[in-house]
């Protein structure tokens, strides 16, 4: 790659889109640690903090934050380009809940003191955040959450349990949705609280998932005392805030890149198995390929909307459903053609690109998390097609 000058962070938002894309390519090429490309599993902080600190050092950590708070101030369209190029290069996801979720929420709803307290520590990596939303009986039905915060003098006392808390063992802070009014209707009476995970009474228990990986945790709260000042926004308005933050980022759940990656691995596997030219396989592959191409085209129409400054409606759910189910069908096909290799625990032939069993398993939760595809279809039915309740 020819040397492309990488402008100062503050200049990135002013670039033309194509130019910006080339800059991002040059940036990851120059800075991303090669040994972290396309990791087979979600990385822990011990592994990905190297990249986190590079991003922090270069000023690239927070693409969506306004410049005055230390971000790049990128438009949605540019953020998508950034993500596309990261994904193309195989850049691993950071422990990014502070960057993606908490930062924007504090910027929008926090007090000046909260901004001053928390934003800089995300930018340095001093605070690593995790997100405490789901509970054992509040998964798809998040508003049923029961973890409770009761005011006691200058503190909230928190009791309850969170589950599916991504990388909680790596985090030193957690943001919580907690119930602060038991008598209000379900979605009301929920507040947003910031909790130092070193506070006494917090227990983190990793969950081993089907990848045999401890990506998620249960987090238990037993009379955990949280200073009143750590409440963000209005009391009992936490639900609305958290929901408002689900902005254009929902489009990322539908990025076709994951399917594109899987498709290229399917192709490789087909070659290794000697079926790439088998006409029946070719027919299956053609269908998957066309689904991928049309999904890219559909995804593009949403990116175009963002470029035009439009906000995305609930129909963006389609992308998530289509992408995750395509991803699954691709990995299903891998198993079908792999013969006995389908059952191997480790990548076939020791080749990370032939990690077919791993991909098959990784593809499973895609249709469950981020709002299960059943929930997404409910949304489409009610909010897009206007079918009755």
């Amino acid at each position: 790659m020819d040397a492309i000058r990488i402008p100062a962070p503050g200049e990135l938002d002013a670039l033309e889109d194509d130019q910006f894309r080339h800059v991002v390519r040059a940036f990851v090429h120059a800075h991303y640690p090669a040994h972290l490309r396309n990791p087979p599993k979600r990385l822990h902080w011990a592994e990905n903090q190297e990249w986190y600190h590079i991003l922090a050092r270069e000023g690239w950590l927070c693409p969506g934050w306004p410049k005055e708070h230390g971000g790049l101030g990128l438009s949605p369209a540019k953020q998508i380009i950034l993500t596309e190029e990261y994904e193309r290069h195989g850049v691993a996801r950071c422990n990014d809940h502070g960057i993606v979720m908490l930062g924007p929420l504090v910027i929008q709803y926090g007090t000046a003191a909260q901004r001053q307290e928390f934003l800089p520590k995300i930018l340095t990596g001093e605070h690593v955040w995790c997100q405490g939303y789901s509970e054992p009986n509040a998964g798809s039905d998040l508003a049923a959450l029961r973890t409770e915060a009761v005011l006691d003098g200058d503190h909230y006392v928190v009791n309850g349990q969170k589950i599916w808390t991504t990388l909680a063992m790596d985090a030193n802070w957690i943001f919580l949705l907690v119930r602060t009014d038991k008598h209000a209707k379900k979605q009301e009476g929920i507040s947003f609280l910031l909790v130092d995970m070193t506070t006494p009474g917090i227990t983190v228990r990793p969950i081993i998932n089907l990848e045999l990986h401890d990506e998620f945790c249960e987090v238990f709260f037993d009379n955990v005392r949280v200073p009143k000042a750590n409440l963000v926004g209005q009391l009992n308005k936490g639900w609305d805030m958290a929901k408002a933050l689900l902005g254009f980022e929902r489009i990322f759940l539908g990025s076709p890149r994951q399917s594109g990656y899987a498709l290229s691995r399917l192709k490789l596997l087909a070659e290794r198995m000697g079926v790439a030219d088998d006409p029946a396989f070719a027919d299956t592959y053609a269908r998957l390929r066309l689904d991928f191409e049309d999904l890219k085209a559909l995804f593009g129409t949403y990116v175009d909307k963002l470029k035009r400054g439009e906000t995305l409606g609930p129909d963006v759910s389609m992308l998530k459903v289509l992408q995750t189910e395509l991803f699954q069908r691709i990995t299903d096909t891998m198993l079908e053609i792999a013969g006995e290799n389908a059952g191997l625990l480790e990548p076939m032939e020791g080749n990370r690109d032939l990690n077919l069993g791993g991909l098959y398993i990784q593809a499973r939760p895609a249709t469950i998390y981020g709002g299960s595809n059943e929930i997404q279809r409910n949304i489409l039915s009610k909010n897009v097609l206007n079918l009755p309740g």
């Binding site: 193309r88 594109g260 990656y261 498709l263 290229s264 192709k267 070719a282 027919d283 592959y285 053609a286 269908r287 390929r289 066309l290 689904d291 991928f292 191409e293 049309d294 999904l295 085209a297 559909l298 593009g300 129409t301 035009r308 129909d315 389609m318 459903v321 289509l322 059943e374 997404q376 279809r377 409910n378 489409l380 039915s381 009610k382 897009v384 097609l385 206007n386 079918l387 009755p388 309740g389």
Partner: protein
């Protein structure tokens, strides 16, 4: 394309959609379409003339040839609107004829005006995009041949493709939508061109047929949503049944994928895609539209239940139309294969 140009295009496409109301008035019933079914020639010559007057048949032609010099974005939008209204006048075939005559440098006023219907008789078998070129080879599956005022017939001569005007006694077969297809042995008349390239023009027709299917799917789906919102069984509006809701959501996704496929193909061609890039874009769209067109219309019947199986209820007309159009200018299988043969591997 700059933002200003994009806005201009969007406006131009909107205008074409609005203009379609001249032939397919919004909210109109399908009485005219029903009356023409299973008649000869299966369409209304006066409406074809009206379509000519609207500038539709020459939509794609340069202004120097009496055309409107509009893009495939506009042409697809028009085909979609007419598909939504099941307009039986052969828009796609007549546009193809106009384009062929223009490419031949031949006189085309009557065709562009819709006064003469001279379909291109280009195939000698089912499900092909290969140009039949034998001098005496029978031509078949000519759309709405019962209304043809003659034919345009390609003939291979000394390694080149010549174009003739021809006549022939057509054997007419009725189609499920109430139209017809014809086959005949050509009797060649005037030679209109000694060397003509038809592939790109057939590709445009294939893309327009995909857009026509898209319009029909959208309308059939809209009818189905209306039905789900109003029909009661077991004391409930049936649209409240989750299994039907999810089915409807699936159909919506098929529609969204089809629209993205067709519109991105049109945009690619308008942006100058040629050769394999053009073939891949068109095949992608037609493969999608053919498969989704059949799938969506039959699911619409299912979601309607018994009433959907009656001829008097309109949704069945869309099923029948999809049966006819899905494989015109190439089936899904043909286009899937052509896509794979022409599309570059992804950049993953």
């Amino acid at each position: 394309m700059s933002a200003a140009t994009a806005d201009d295009r969007a406006e131009s496409i909107r205008m074409i959609r609005d203009s379609a109301a001249a032939v397919a008035p919004p909210g109109a019933d399908l009485g005219r379409i029903r009356a023409l079914r299973f008649t000869d020639p299966g369409f209304d010559r006066a409406v074809l003339v009206q379509m000519g007057e609207m500038g539709w048949l020459g939509l794609r032609l340069p202004e120097a040839q009496g055309g409107a010099a509009l893009g495939l974005g506009e042409a697809c939008a028009l085909a979609e609107e007419l598909g939504a209204a099941l307009v039986p006048e052969p828009l796609v075939a007549a546009m193809l004829s106009a384009a062929v005559l223009a490419a031949a440098g031949a006189k085309l006023d009557d065709v562009v005006a819709g006064r003469h219907y001279l379909p291109l008789a280009w195939q000698d078998r089912a499900d092909t995009l290969d140009i039949a070129a034998g001098r005496d080879a029978p031509r078949c599956f000519v759309p709405m041949a019962a209304g043809a005022d003659g034919y345009l017939v390609p003939v291979r001569e000394a390694g080149r493709l010549a174009l003739y005007r021809a006549t022939g006694e057509a054997r007419i077969e009725r189609t499920q939508d109430g139209g017809n297809l014809g086959s005949f042995v050509p009797v060649l008349g005037e030679r209109l061109a000694a060397d003509i390239a038809l592939d790109a023009l057939l590709d445009e027709a294939a893309l327009l047929s995909a857009a026509y299917l898209l319009g029909g799917m959208e309308r059939a789906f809209a009818m189905t949503l209306d039905y789900l919102r109003t029909r009661s069984q077991f004391g409930r509006i049936i649209g409240t049944f989750q299994a039907l809701q999810h089915r409807a959501a699936d159909l919506k996704m098929h529609l969204a994928m089809t629209r993205a496929s067709v519109e991105s193909a049109a945009a690619a061609l308008d942006a100058g895609a040629t050769g394999d890039a053009r073939r891949a874009a068109v095949s992608r769209a037609k493969a999608r539209a053919a498969e989704a067109g059949l799938l969506v219309t039959r699911q619409c019947i299912q979601l309607h239940g018994g009433i959907g199986y009656t001829d008097q209820y309109d949704v069945g007309l869309y099923l029948r139309k999809a049966m006819v159009v899905a494989n015109q200018y190439g089936s899904a299988t043909l286009h899937r294969r052509r896509f794979m043969a022409t599309a570059p591997e992804g950049d993953e």
